[in-house]
């Protein structure tokens, strides 16, 4: 993990998020958090627990259940000197914020000829397999990735989560930050010393020679596990995490594929018109003359997420399917 430090400390993904918020709130008094049950409750995922004690209810604000309203207030506050972090409990509620994100936040800077800015972060979640059914399991990051004027981060490790969130808060543009709710307990190295991670810089999570697996958020771990399986049968997979879908580090993705001559793109959003489509077409175009096989896409099945434990897991790319697909792309069976 090129960009990662190796001092001993380990944190969970959730703790890394909290630490990033706390550090930025200490550093900049204009940063505040607004959302449903973010204060005493610290969100249903307990990610923000303790922040209200340090920063008080003026900076960690429990709001009514008004996603559009808090996003709109965030946009206005951001335009006038604050750095709001708007907490949208589930990514499934992002559609409620779309007007404010798409028509206001994303366009204010451009429409004002560069005079107004919207330094706001919209923090929300993605990810299925939690038995939460169709309205609490979606990964809708593609919707916001499509909109010029917005930036979108999809961290996959505690280290990346912290570094990218600090960057998001300091960025002078609206940033949508998607956290996989199933990863909050995931542990990983996070150095004591402060750091940030630039947007638009992919991270090579694993070096490889035979095939490139581009994966986002939760799917990075699926890809890494698939790479282990492939290793065992002599296929060397390179796993690349774009870390931000917008801006997208096209160069790294294309160069890796030029090297390996094969690519798979794995993302937990719906496959059709989703993140895998953009990345796969960028690679298919950029690495065209070097590809030995078609670029394969693996997104979530194009169905509303079913509740039944017998069905839900079938809708998300798994380690085995990724490994199988990689094998056949490499002409092995």
């Amino acid at each position: 993990m090129s960009t990662q430090s190796d001092n001993g400390r380990e944190l969970t993904f959730g703790r890394a998020i909290r630490e990033a918020l706390a550090e930025e709130m200490r550093r900049d008094p204009t940063v505040f958090i607004i959302g449903e049950d973010v204060a005493e409750a610290g969100t249903p995922f307990k990610v923000l627990q303790g922040l209200v004690d340090e920063f008080g209810p003026e900076r960690v604000i429990d709001s009514p259940i008004s996603e559009a309203g808090i996003t709109g207030i965030g946009v206005g506050a951001a335009m006038t000197g604050m750095r709001p972090v708007v907490d949208i409990m589930f990514g499934d509620f992002v559609p409620l914020t779309m007007e404010q994100m798409v028509n206001q936040a994303a366009k204010v800077h451009y429409m004002s000829g560069g005079k107004l800015r919207v330094p706001m972060v919209l923090r929300t979640t993605l990810g299925a397999t939690r038995r939460s059914a169709a309205q609490h399991s979606q990964s809708l990051h593609a919707l916001l990735s499509h909109i010029p004027g917005l930036k979108v981060a999809v961290p996959s490790t505690p280290y990346d989560a912290k570094g990218l969130l600090k960057t998001a808060i300091r960025d002078n543009n609206p940033v949508a930050f998607f956290e996989d709710k199933m990863m909050y307990q995931l542990k990983g190295p996070v150095p004591e010393e402060e750091y940030t991670i630039p947007f638009g810089v992919a991270d090579i999570k694993r070096q490889g020679r035979d095939i490139t697996i581009v994966a986002t958020s939760s799917m990075v771990h699926v890809a890494l596990n698939a790479a282990e399986i492939l290793e065992a049968i002599g296929i060397s997979a390179e796993v690349i995490d774009p870390r931000t879908t917008n801006p997208l580090d096209r160069k790294t993705l294309v160069e890796s594929t030029i090297k390996t001559s094969r690519a798979i793109v794995v993302d937990e959003g719906y496959e059709r018109y989703g993140v895998t489509a953009e990345i796969a077409s960028v690679i298919a175009d950029g690495a065209f003359y070097y590809l030995d096989a078609p670029v394969k896409r693996m997104g979530a099945m194009d169905v509303p997420v079913p509740f039944s434990p017998a069905l839900e897991d079938l809708t998300v790319p798994t380690v085995d399917i990724v490994a199988e697909t990689a094998k056949s792309l490499c002409g092995r069976t």
Partner: protein, 337 residues
């Protein structure tokens, strides 16, 4: 259902005239809901239920009082805390448990789960996991009823937290403009998840629907007789083209926001919970009144409760032993024929 001569009950000697059945039926419905929810909690803590569930315990009088005033053809839309609404509107315990466990015999073939139970046969257009998400659906159902002239009314159940959603006001405005037969039933259990409603709700709740020209009433949500009587009157008004109404019910959830919300002291006191459970329990209030009136004695309630528990146990067993949907179902029902 049989018209109740509740008023006549007051006058002495008129007792014989009083029809006690409906009250016992309401008690039974509330007892079934409570037993159902207790079982859900047991299944969850026993790791026999996937996901989460939001228990309706403490709020039973609203679902029952409201649905008793409706016909099977009338529509309801429900919420994430919807088990009580579904049962009160006529759902079967077996198929509900099956749905909660993700089994094919469930109302949604296991695809919906606890927060999405829908049963068109009993007029239930579905629970909704988006707070306020069904306000448009209920209002649209009322639009159909008016346009098709089938005399149905639509009831939109929602928690006071949904008052934070702009959609509520958009649809209340249209329901009022077009005099749609919809009844907005606000279950104010005082908390939006872990936040007291006074921290999220400015002004006076009843002033909001009134501002849109909607007839608004308030009722004690723990007194099923009061809820029923009020609803019966409101349903009549709405069916008679009297336009939409808003009914604010004061209530309380005894348990956590969801089954996993055990330690609640950081947002509400044990005393508060105790106060409601002891002095404002909907089952106690009804049984107490019937006993005071000499209309029933305790045995009957014990019997009803026992029957309810038995039905619930059987339902849970049915569901536990029922098969899951076949994996080929995963991409079925995405689009209708």
């Amino acid at each position: 259902m049989t018209k109740m001569a509740d008023d006549r009950a007051a006058g002495p000697g008129s007792r014989l005239k009083l029809d006690v059945e409906p009250y016992l039926h309401m008690y039974q419905q509330m007892a079934r809901i409570r037993a159902f929810e207790e079982k859900v909690n047991e299944l969850y803590t026993g790791a026999q239920m996937p996901g989460l569930a939001h228990l309706y315990i403490g709020e039973e009088a609203i679902a029952v009082g409201v649905c008793e005033a409706l016909t099977p053809q009338d529509y309801i839309t429900s919420t994430h805390r919807g088990h009580g609404h579904c049962l009160a509107k006529g759902a079967s315990v077996n198929r509900m448990f099956a749905e909660l466990l993700g089994k094919e015999a469930g109302y949604c073939r296991g695809k919906g789960g606890s927060m999405h139970i829908a049963d068109i046969e009993s007029g239930n257009l579905g629970a909704n996991a988006i707070v306020g998400g069904s306000a448009g659906i209920a209002t649209g159902a009322a639009f159909s009823a008016k346009h098709l002239g089938d005399g149905r009314v639509a009831v939109c159940f929602f928690g006071e937290g949904a008052l934070g959603q702009g959609l509520m006001y958009e649809v209340m405005n249209m329901a009022s403009l077009w005099s749609l037969p919809v009844i907005y039933v606000c279950e104010n259990n005082h908390y939006n998840e872990y936040t007291h409603f006074s921290e999220s709700t400015a002004g006076d709740i009843t002033a909001r629907p009134k501002a849109f020209g909607i007839h608004t009433e308030t009722v004690d949500g723990q007194d099923v007789r009061a809820v029923y009587k009020t609803m019966a009157r409101l349903v009549e008004r709405v069916r008679g083209d009297g336009g939409p109404v808003f009914l604010l019910c004061d209530t309380y959830r005894y348990r956590g926001h969801h089954v996993g919300d055990i330690d609640r002291t950081y947002y509400r006191s044990k005393e508060e919970e105790q106060e409601w459970m002891t002095n404002r329990d909907p089952l106690k209030i009804l049984s107490g009144w019937l006993v005071d009136q000499g209309l029933a004695d305790q045995e009957i309630f014990d019997q009803i409760t026992a029957e309810a528990k038995a039905e619930i146990e059987a339902g849970a067993d049915f569901a536990i032993n029922a098969p899951y949907p076949g994996i080929s179902e995963v991409d079925q029902h995405v689009y209708a024929e």
